[in-house]
């Protein structure tokens, strides 16, 4: 999926925006909460706007607070054959913890529409 380039820069965040984001995140917010979070989120965005007022040409965006890159692991399976039994027990335990299982698979309610 390509990033959309036409995302408009919002003005001050509205109660509807907050309700929309809450819905996307499957959060059930009461009217009081919606009111409170709209104010709080607006303050956060105001702070970001303050930063935008600075001259930051030539400063790379910070995507991560740690001064690290290229943290990699070798492509080696974690489970050696000697650990197969332990691994099997782990898998069984995981399945046993699920509300419903069929043929070693997790049984879930019907889903409408295809995964993206």
């Amino acid at each position: 999926m390509k990033p959309d380039s036409d995302v408009s820069v919002p003005g001050r965040i509205t109660r509807d925006d907050v309700a929309y984001v809450a819905r996307l995140a499957r959060l059930n917010l009461s009217d009081t909460e919606l009111e409170a979070f709209t104010g709080q989120l607006a303050d956060v965005l105001d702070h970001a706007a303050d930063l935008e007022a600075l001259d930051l040409d030539g400063v790379a965006p910070t995507s991560h607070p740690l001064p690290l890159s290229n943290v990699l692991r070798p492509d080696v399976p974690a489970v050696e054959s000697a650990d197969e039994v332990d691994h099997r027990l782990f898998c069984d335990e995981v399945l046993a913890a699920a509300p419903a299982v069929e043929e070693n698979r997790f049984r879930v309610p019907p889903v409408l529409g295809e995964a993206p």
């Binding site: 390509k2 991560h64 943290v71 070798p74 492509d75 997790f106 879930v108 019907p110 993206p116």
Partner: protein, 473 residues
């Protein structure tokens, strides 16, 4: 469809050929008992943390180099959505900083197709819909297997440079050949390790502006790809010519009824709320690492086609099948040993569909030399070749074992004479016919002689005898 142009852009997902998953040491292996190639990371258990697989990054860079992409510093992002195939409720992908930026792919006919980007992401689990005939909208419930969850994928986003179903198939075949050649993926569409999503739009010929596009998903073979494009472009043209508008949609290809069906419209499109993945630091491959990977790259299919074409004097497109079968090294070696290039390629294309088996370049070359030298007929050469593929050996011995010897022409002449006496009408038609008729009848006579000699006769010699006898009357 006269007067309309179809515009196609493809998004290809390929599973990378690593031993383990993108962010954990669980196995990356097709099949297996459900939910056994799993661990806390691929199950999204609380507290588990992803660590990036070095090999997956290396393979992604190989893909980038093979597609002439800019390989660059990159970051991972969370793509948020709620669907049981991703138990942690987001997929780790790359968004605004993919590891490979713009590039291009050259089709066998020489045209260049733009690549927008090629980025790393994790695969999802596999859902099976139960009830409602397996159809997603009518299912009673679904079963999920997370063996595939977290398997490394490269998503290759092509530019809308393709103009027909044939173009699209050629692009996917070439891309698959490249991925297999560089060892990035096994490219098996039937096992789902390579999947194609197809963006289709139509516009009147001559228009510059792109029409509204629809994305078609669930395409599982090259054949389906062609059929889906044919159906979808027809559907769009019909809508426009009947005065309706194209609604930007995601559509689902149904193999059984040969149609595409609405999955969701743009208004229902997901808002994925991408943001930088806090659990992973950026990946910025050093120039040294990229150079090292570049130095270890094998020859790509396009380069191999050009090499074979240069050596044998054919058009690179005609070398495609030989390269696709991985027999170009054998063919080149046989040519180096003195075998006639045209004959070598005929055998590779017609008689070596299942690979070279026990056939060595030396045996191949000596077989072709025997054939072009007249010691073996084409039919005999084919028989000997099949034996060499099956069990190796020296073509001289194998030919002797079959009792193949070039038939004396006097013996053949007798046979041809007898045949003429038995079929006077065919002979008349041959002698008095125009070029086309003559060719047809000579085919008949040669066929009869081949039958009588069980393929031992040399077709060219039979033809010479026929011509000589015809000129004599």
């Amino acid at each position: 469809m006269d007067g309309w142009e179809v515009v196609i852009g493809l998004e290809v997902h390929a599973e990378l050929a690593t031993a383990t998953k993108l962010f954990s040491g669980a196995r990356n292996e097709f099949g297996g008992e459900p939910n056994t190639h799993v661990d806390p990371v691929s199950l999204g258990l609380p507290g588990s943390l992803p660590v990036l697989n070095e090999k997956a990054v290396e393979l992604a860079i190989r893909v980038g180099l093979a597609l002439n992409c800019v390989v660059q510093a990159s970051e991972f992002a969370r793509k948020n959505y709620f669907y049981p195939d991703m138990p942690k409720d987001f997929q780790i992908s790359q968004f605004d900083q993919p590891i490979n930026g713009e590039g291009w792919l050259e089709l066998p006919d020489g045209r260049s197709i733009g690549i927008e980007r090629a980025h790393l992401e994790e695969d999802t689990g596999k859902s099976t819909h139960v009830g409602g005939g397996g159809r997603i909208h009518e299912a009673a419930y679904s079963l999920v297997d997370y063996n595939r969850a977290g398997v490394p994928l490269i998503e290759i986003v092509g530019k809308p440079d393709l103009r027909s179903a044939e173009d699209a198939r050629a692009y996917v075949s070439e891309l698959r050949a490249i991925l297999v050649t560089i060892g990035a993926s096994d490219g098996k569409m039937e096992e789902g390790s390579m999947r194609v999503d197809c963006n289709v739009s139509v516009r009147p010929v001559g228009d510059e502006e792109l029409g509204t596009r629809c994305e078609v998903k669930n395409i599982n073979s090259l054949r389906s790809l062609g059929r889906a494009i044919a159906y979808e472009s027809r559907r769009q043209v019909d809508l426009i010519t009947s005065g309706q508008k194209i609604d930007q949609q995601t559509r689902h290809w149904n193999e059984e009824d040969g149609r595409t069906h609405t999955l969701r419209s743009k208004e229902e499109a997901f808002d994925y709320r991408y943001f930088p993945e806090p659990d992973l630091v950026p990946v910025a491959p050093s120039a040294e690492w990229i150079d090292e990977i570049r130095a270890a790259m094998p020859l790509l299919p396009g380069e191999r086609r050009r090499r074979l074409a240069d050596e044998s004097g054919i058009h690179p497109e005609a070398a495609a099948l030989t390269v696709e079968r991985g027999l170009d090294d054998l063919a080149l070696a046989a040519m180096d040993l003195g075998a006639e290039p045209a004959r070598v390629l005929v055998h590779v294309e017609n008689n070596l569909a299942d690979g070279q088996g026990g056939l060595t370049a030396e045996a191949f070359a000596s077989l072709v030399v025997m054939e072009t030298g007249g010691d073996l007929t084409a039919t005999q050469a084919k028989t000997v070749l099949a034996d060499l593929v099956d069990s190796g050996g020296d073509p001289v011995d194998v030919a002797a074992g079959h009792g193949f010897e070039a038939m004396e022409s006097s013996e053949l002449e007798g046979l041809v004479g007898g045949l003429i006496t038995d079929h006077p009408e065919d002979w008349e038609a041959f002698v008095g016919g125009d070029e086309g008729e003559r060719k047809k009848k000579s085919g008949f006579f040669v066929g009869q002689i081949m039958k009588a000699t069980r393929g031992q006769a040399d077709g060219r010699v039979v033809n010479e005898i026929l011509e000589r006898l015809a000129d004599g009357t």
